[in-house]
């Protein structure tokens, strides 16, 4: 024990110091010491599993999965370590640097890209069982693959969708689109204009974090932003990329159908206004359904519309992931647990808890069946097919470009401080700068 050596060495020194040292030693002893080691004697190992599962049902589902695994695998125990979603990245950076990362890491595709480059995650290509491999669409696998190797198992996905206040739609004589016949952006913009009356904006959009939303929806018009890979990647801001930001800008400043104040809010900040009829529609992640069900005033009629269409309904897939730390001593056991976690039953439970889209097809079918398509689950079960990898996600400069360039410049553009061409120029310059930094 560290404390005893501290104590003895100070004994020879004057009593003043001795007393203080003894006191600190006493505190050390008092509060108990040492952390448990991760492997016991009799071949039993313990895997640490850090997870940012948040909604109560998801946390419960996660605990149930861990408990079921532990009951079936007495020699490979999994310890569940909850983290709050905002802190996942910071905690991992520190733990990776300190060689203390958990064996199994719950994160998301856009975030693991950086860790993969830094070599902190294990290549799982050979560890993923064939049935899991075939259950998840290739486009989703691509979003967790780098240089042909897989670094995470996708679990749940989100997409950006339009929620509408049904009574306001009816009042303005706007007919909601159907799955077979989704709104195009033009129709959507026209509807927003039609819904805008004295005290009501047609649309509220919590675009506090504009980059991910704009880049993801840009795929509607085949706007890819990035071509090439690694540090040699290039950013283009052409007509296709201009579509979504330009349309948002038009809705704010030309049509005045999109509330400018909402652009700086987060998705959930917009909800009170939506419930109060201040905004007839909002754009948000599909998981917002959960808050609609839970918080909407009684009698409030809401509906989740099919994904918007440009030339297609495509959006970027940024799945939540489970990865194995490169520092883990038991990668294959960790991967076995991940495969178990990712099976259809478990994933269906987790998806319903978080109101997200399961990454695997069997799990989607199971969700549709279990929910009987209610509360928008019918639409959600089919959304997965529109989600595929976007080239920006795995490009090296993305993280820095997003923080330093894209987010501030989109904000400036939406605040009408930049023209679309100035925006394009800044975005391109910022990419070059971030690429130079590696």
């Amino acid at each position: 024990m560290r404390t005893s050596s501290m104590k003895t060495s100070s004994m020879r020194r004057p009593r003043l110091l001795g007393a203080a040292a003894a006191l600190s030693a006493a505190v050390l002893v008092l509060a108990g010491c040492g952390s448990g080691s991760d492997s016991g004697s009799s071949g039993k190992i313990t895997l640490q599993f850090s997870s940012y599962a948040w909604q109560d049902p998801t946390v419960k589902a996660t605990k149930d999965i861990v408990a079921a695994w532990n009951a079936a695998h007495p020699n490979v125990q999994v310890k569940y370590i909850p983290v709050d979603p905002d802190s996942v990245h910071d905690k991992l950076v520190t733990q990776f640097a300190g060689d203390s990362a958990p064996d199994i890491i719950h994160d998301e595709a856009a975030d693991i890209a950086g860790f993969v480059k830094q070599g902190y995650l294990a290549d799982m290509s050979k560890l993923i069982p064939a049935d899991l491999k075939s259950a998840v669409p290739q486009g989703v696998w691509d979003s967790v693959s780098f240089d042909g190797k897989v670094y995470g198992a996708p679990t749940l996905l989100q997409s950006y969708v339009v929620f509408a206040n049904q009574s306001l739609l009816a009042k303005a004589n706007v007919t909601a689109p159907t799955d077979a016949n989704p709104w195009t952006w033009d129709q959507f913009q026209a509807a927003a204009k039609q819904l805008t009356t004295g005290g009501t904006f047609g649309l509220g959009w919590g675009l506090k974090q504009p980059t991910a939303a704009v880049l993801s929806m840009a795929l509607n018009f085949d706007g890819k932003f990035v071509s090439g890979s690694g540090t040699s990647s290039k950013l283009t801001f052409g007509d296709a990329e201009k579509q979504v930001p330009q349309r948002i800008h038009d809705m704010v400043y030309t049509d005045k159908s999109l509330s400018p104040a909402t652009l700086g809010m987060s998705g959930s900040d917009v909800l009170p206004g939506f419930f109060a009829g201040k905004y007839a529609m909002i754009v948000s992640g599909n998981y917002t359904s959960q808050q609609m069900v839970q918080d909407a005033p009684s009698g409030f009629q809401w509906t989740m519309l099919p994904m918007l269409k440009g030339t297609s309904q495509a959006q970027a897939a940024d799945p939540q992931t489970l990865s194995v730390a490169a520092q883990s001593k038991h990668p294959s056991e960790a991967a076995q647990f991940i495969a178990f976690y990712d099976n259809a039953q478990n994933l269906a439970q987790l998806a319903q808890g978080d109101w997200l889209i399961p990454a695997s097809d069997p799990a989607s079918k199971l969700v549709a069946q279990q929910t009987q398509g209610k509360n928008g689950w019918g639409a959600m079960a089919t959304m997965g097919k529109n989600l595929a990898v976007a080239p920006f996600e795995s490009a090296t400069p993305y993280a820095q470009w997003k923080t330093e360039t894209a987010t501030p410049d989109f904000q400036q553009y939406f605040a009408n401080k930049l023209t679309i061409d100035q925006l394009g120029q800044k975005l391109t310059e910022g990419w070059t700068k971030a690429a130079a930094n590696g």
Binding site: L17, L23, Q118, G119, N437
Partner: protein
Amino acid sequence: MAIITDAPARPTQAPPGTRRRGNGYAYLLLLPALLPVVLFSVIPLLNGIYLGFTDSRAGFNQTTHVTGFANYAKLLHDSLFWSSFKIGLIWAFGVTFIQFFLALGLASLLNQPLRMRWLARTLALVPWAMPPVIVGIMWRLIYQPDAGLLSNLLYKLGLGEHSVNWLGDLSTALPAVIVVGVWAGMPQTTVVLLAGLQGVPAELHEAAAVDGANAWRRFRSVTLPALRPVIVAITSLDFIWNFNSFGLVYVLTDGGPAGKTTLPMLFAYQQAFQYGHFGYAAALGNAMVLIIVALLAVYLRRRMREATQ
């Protein structure tokens, strides 16, 4: 207290002020603080300072090279660094200045024999007692454009439906976070100033009052001079703290909108934690230390002079 009573009494001890014997005592008194400080503060600090002269990056088995002043040359041309530096100065001066005057006023009031003073003293501490994680979230909700407390206050005062996005608007974001900064730091400054005020011997006041000095004159000629060491200490610390402030603004705005509230430490955090540029971030830390020391130099020289008197 156990530490001090534990030490043997020495009746033949020389009076305070004699230098040679005094030094031995000084070291003895400093030692208990030294061990933890060296282990958990000095070593990480030296490590951090050293990293500023390397190309250290996050990465598994990454090798690090000493690059001398390369990071600093890059810093000089980094426009984002300079803009964050400017924002940091506005923020630190603004918050420290407003905070000090508000806190001095509050401390003086709390030093008066007012009724329910204990309750007022306790309530004045609310911002400090609240976990910073919560402070950020709460003020975000207060500033929220729709259902926020501030917008609702305007609404209920009959000023109409204002959807001002205080934290999201390019022009109001920095002032809005400065208000939160002042709010959050008030108690610390007030408590220290209050304790300082109570250290002003009452006899001095009474003597001045007998001489016919009015309240303001007594404050200027008696209170302020006696309070000066405490004022210098707390304002320099406040300035340093505010300049180094991170958590509050991180939760409130994360540096946005459009980088208008990206304080230097937020910039350093992004470099280190988001992009893994440890060396560059540490270089930025070193540069900050130098710049702030230079800014404080005048202030501190005055302080040192007082100390030697």
